[in-house]
Symmetry: D2
Subunit: 333 residues, 4 copies
Amino acid sequence: MKPEPLRLGVIGLGRIGQIHFSNLRGAIGNAQVVAAADPFSEARDLAANDGITTHATVEALLETPQLDGVVVCSPTDEHANHVAMAAQAGKHVFCEKPLDLSVERVQETLTTVQAAGVQLMLGFNRRFDPHFAKVQSVVRNGGIGDPHMIRITSRDPSPPPIDYIERSGGLFLDMTIHDFDMARYLAASPVTEIYARGSNLVDPAIGEAGDIDSAVCVLSFANGATAVIDNSRKASYGYDQRVEVFGALGMIAAGNERETQHQWLTATGEQRALPKHFFLERYEAAYRLEMQAFVDAIRNEEPVPVTGADGLQALLLGLAAQESMQTNRPVTL
Amino acid sequence: MKPEPLRLGVIGLGRIGQIHFSNLRGAIGNAQVVAAADPFSEARDLAANDGITTHATVEALLETPQLDGVVVCSPTDEHANHVAMAAQAGKHVFCEKPLDLSVERVQETLTTVQAAGVQLMLGFNRRFDPHFAKVQSVVRNGGIGDPHMIRITSRDPSPPPIDYIERSGGLFLDMTIHDFDMARYLAASPVTEIYARGSNLVDPAIGEAGDIDSAVCVLSFANGATAVIDNSRKASYGYDQRVEVFGALGMIAAGNERETQHQWLTATGEQRALPKHFFLERYEAAYRLEMQAFVDAIRNEEPVPVTGADGLQALLLGLAAQESMQTNRPVTL
Amino acid sequence: MKPEPLRLGVIGLGRIGQIHFSNLRGAIGNAQVVAAADPFSEARDLAANDGITTHATVEALLETPQLDGVVVCSPTDEHANHVAMAAQAGKHVFCEKPLDLSVERVQETLTTVQAAGVQLMLGFNRRFDPHFAKVQSVVRNGGIGDPHMIRITSRDPSPPPIDYIERSGGLFLDMTIHDFDMARYLAASPVTEIYARGSNLVDPAIGEAGDIDSAVCVLSFANGATAVIDNSRKASYGYDQRVEVFGALGMIAAGNERETQHQWLTATGEQRALPKHFFLERYEAAYRLEMQAFVDAIRNEEPVPVTGADGLQALLLGLAAQESMQTNRPVTL
Amino acid sequence: MKPEPLRLGVIGLGRIGQIHFSNLRGAIGNAQVVAAADPFSEARDLAANDGITTHATVEALLETPQLDGVVVCSPTDEHANHVAMAAQAGKHVFCEKPLDLSVERVQETLTTVQAAGVQLMLGFNRRFDPHFAKVQSVVRNGGIGDPHMIRITSRDPSPPPIDYIERSGGLFLDMTIHDFDMARYLAASPVTEIYARGSNLVDPAIGEAGDIDSAVCVLSFANGATAVIDNSRKASYGYDQRVEVFGALGMIAAGNERETQHQWLTATGEQRALPKHFFLERYEAAYRLEMQAFVDAIRNEEPVPVTGADGLQALLLGLAAQESMQTNRPVTL
């Protein structure tokens, strides 16, 4: 085990980069941010105000002395490039998902990482949500017996802008990809077949952009389990994130966190608070816990809990879902 | 055990009388209604339509051949009289509470019943609510260890008419008396002291009628437990009936039944249904189960589960609460 | 409107027949049981004890004077026959589902009923569950906007005997048929396509009998909505009956009723009661309310709320689900 | 408004001091920790590692240039002394409660603070719990009408060591004092009378140390509302923190946060997680939000939301509760 705190550089100080930056400075133990890189000077100023050395380029950041690893939060189309650069410089890498939308590009990058002998952890943050992690832990420990049926509901509070949708790779690669990973995490078995249906119910503009906004996927696993994922780009009541695993000996489910816990009863009914609005609020603890898991794995020289291979599998599921939807029949994996 | 169904007469076919009548004809096993009495011919017609022999007087009903017992649902000020008449005729008696508001009258009646060698069960229906009965059963079986604190919330959806309040004996004897019995049922220990506070917050007319509409009572039990009861004549959201018992090893609570179980989420919040409106809906199962318990006890020649002595104790607590409120200090029992 | 109570005969006094019999005698208003038929004398004795005229044959029962209608609770393979006999005798019919497992037989029977000018109500009792009825009412009244996604979970506490399974028509016709009707009830739109997957996970003997015990069906509706149904023959924690409808403006869900409502906390966790065990307990109110709806419709000369055509649609969905499972591709309706 | 971040010194780096220190460095905006003081060098090292100037004495810390305020987290018997020193140095003060257990000492200190023209905020953290704050906000905005009944349950997971209890001032001053403040916060009206009962049920050693471990207090407010507080030093299922306010138009309640949200059903029942274990977990957000409120108030030159006068009122209630318990009668305030 490395006795000193891990020395990390943050690449990209946008919304998610700032979250990891702030967590690494405060809540996360045994880690220090020693450098940050962003092409925009305003973004760099945020880090500089906290006394951190900043750089305009990744190349410059990677020259930081005694740098143990990097946290890649750059735009998606730079992920693979920055991961490869860091790996070739001998740094361990935490990278926001997806690594890339091209299977070939992902495979190349994983080869580069492997050749460099460093670890790559992919940011499937939902695995670290305390509620979902509890579900997975009970399932893994046999608490519901063999899993038969997994249900995942994942609905966003509102669709992203159309120009985002146009570059997103489509709902299955942009949104369901999280749920594919969650299904794999809960089933702990390879997917053998997928059937996907999609529709355009939320906003005609999404359909005109060539995408869907509502979907159902049915996944079959080698261990006999089936998973059903349902997605919507717009839940008027907020961010709806639920999982359920049903098995031979029981069932375990976990749902949303509410804004507050109150129960307010008047003559017209009982009111409760809505789910926490979106991913930054809902997965606040998950972002912290995933980064701590990365720091701990690197310091303890243990395998990181989510690998590039997990990212590749989720990507392959997304592509298979697209094929199933287009051909309207199940696709074997 | 009596092999045949119990043959019962119903005295009084008002609202609560009709409930017992209908339950005895349908849901309750091993019992038959063989006669009914009510001074009003309209009330008698209801029973007659179902082929039951009806009488205008209790005396006539008591002459029914092979009558095993009676169910007394007459107006409160006739309870003691009808119980005594039935007991002297050798019939077992189920009587709606209260037996009477006079301690002397209650004691006389209990003496008469005892002399007659029949059983008298008092209708503290809430003991038979499945939720509260489960709480009591877990407590009795040691599931929370020694009880330390009992909390009872009991709020009506709206106050009765003022002329009812004027004849009711006051909130402690009319409403809290149920909660005193529930506290005794849950604590299973004698009350040693009571402190009561009352106020007039719901309707000034109740205060002008010399009564209170809001109250808190603190009861101390010989086993060291304390109970807190809070009452209101008006909960705008409906009938609020909750109990909680906290002890050395845990806590068990049971609350309201809702009209329906739905959860309805829209952009403005989550809506749930209100508690079932009032006692006829909330305690539907309890009314059925208490009558079945009476029938079973008589047929099996076992003691009835709620006795006249229980009614007397609740009455004494109500009177002590009145004294405590008036003197503003705890009253020892 | 018929001013007098409806005069009904009950055909078949097995488990479900007794429930309808008892409800019609007690809880249901404006109806009388005037005759009952069952080939077994022990079954007839139950009714005779309550003073009801009994018959060994349906023919004899149908000669009861002034009979308004019948309630058919005979074994499934006699349903069509008894419905036809009653219709030809000019009696309105309430019939337990399914009418028959043969589409041709069902169509013939519906033709006979129509020709006779009587009404036929099919016993899809779950539509009358107060919780599900509330969900449907909110959806119909626009409370969640256009429906996008319907989720139905329907799991039995344990599988029926193998010899029952062998005669059942298979899981889709025996168990999912209820959920097909529920999906139609909630979507209020024709089904256009169905995709079904089944597996044998609960008991190998079920597979050896040629049936499945676990299934997922995805239904597409003409209005754009999608429904997902998941079934299991064995939920170790009891009878699991839940629905959820998600739409453009919100979501409404309703779940299980628990045995009791308590919350019991000790050092090892919080315990709550399991769902009510099986259909007789869970749908107690639904059985009462569906029969009341039949009685009210006939007396008021209004259409019954669930018709033979609803039964036919559910049957066609079950057969399409079988085809989809066997061909492993979606089936268009 | 002060344009720059507030420059604060932290006095005392024990358990609660470290929480405020870490929050001020990370989650709290517009504030900087510029110095820290602790007599123990190990405690100082924690801050020094983060690059903060540390001091062994409060005197030295108060000489920090451009210091805006201090956060007093020293041992309770030093609170008054450190508050006075800081005030006399012209610094605003956030102080952990209680200010002191002596009414005279508290009054002297408040006089000193007032004379110095600085602000003093007392750390009644529970007011900043998001759930309780929501309850208070709904009540204040008339969402339940005039408040009639306030119920506060406050139970610790286990009693502190006996030597702590001996120095604590007793349960009413050490534990209930939080609930007195919560009752005042929710009622928004002066207390006119208090009745308190205490008992020794958890551990005889607590009784031998002259203290109680279980208590009930009934508070009357000038606006007619009544509050009931129930306390225990030991809830075997964890930290139990609940409030409920019932009023003329409705009721609002808020309860515990659970460790995780899962529902786990097996053949033996449904299991849920226990409440978060103790105050550091339960009130994690509250600690952050109260410090942010202090920072914002000082920067905006607005009154702090919890004052020394609030601390004095809670102290007076604790002393009145002791008197009520000893005399076994209500005490007027």
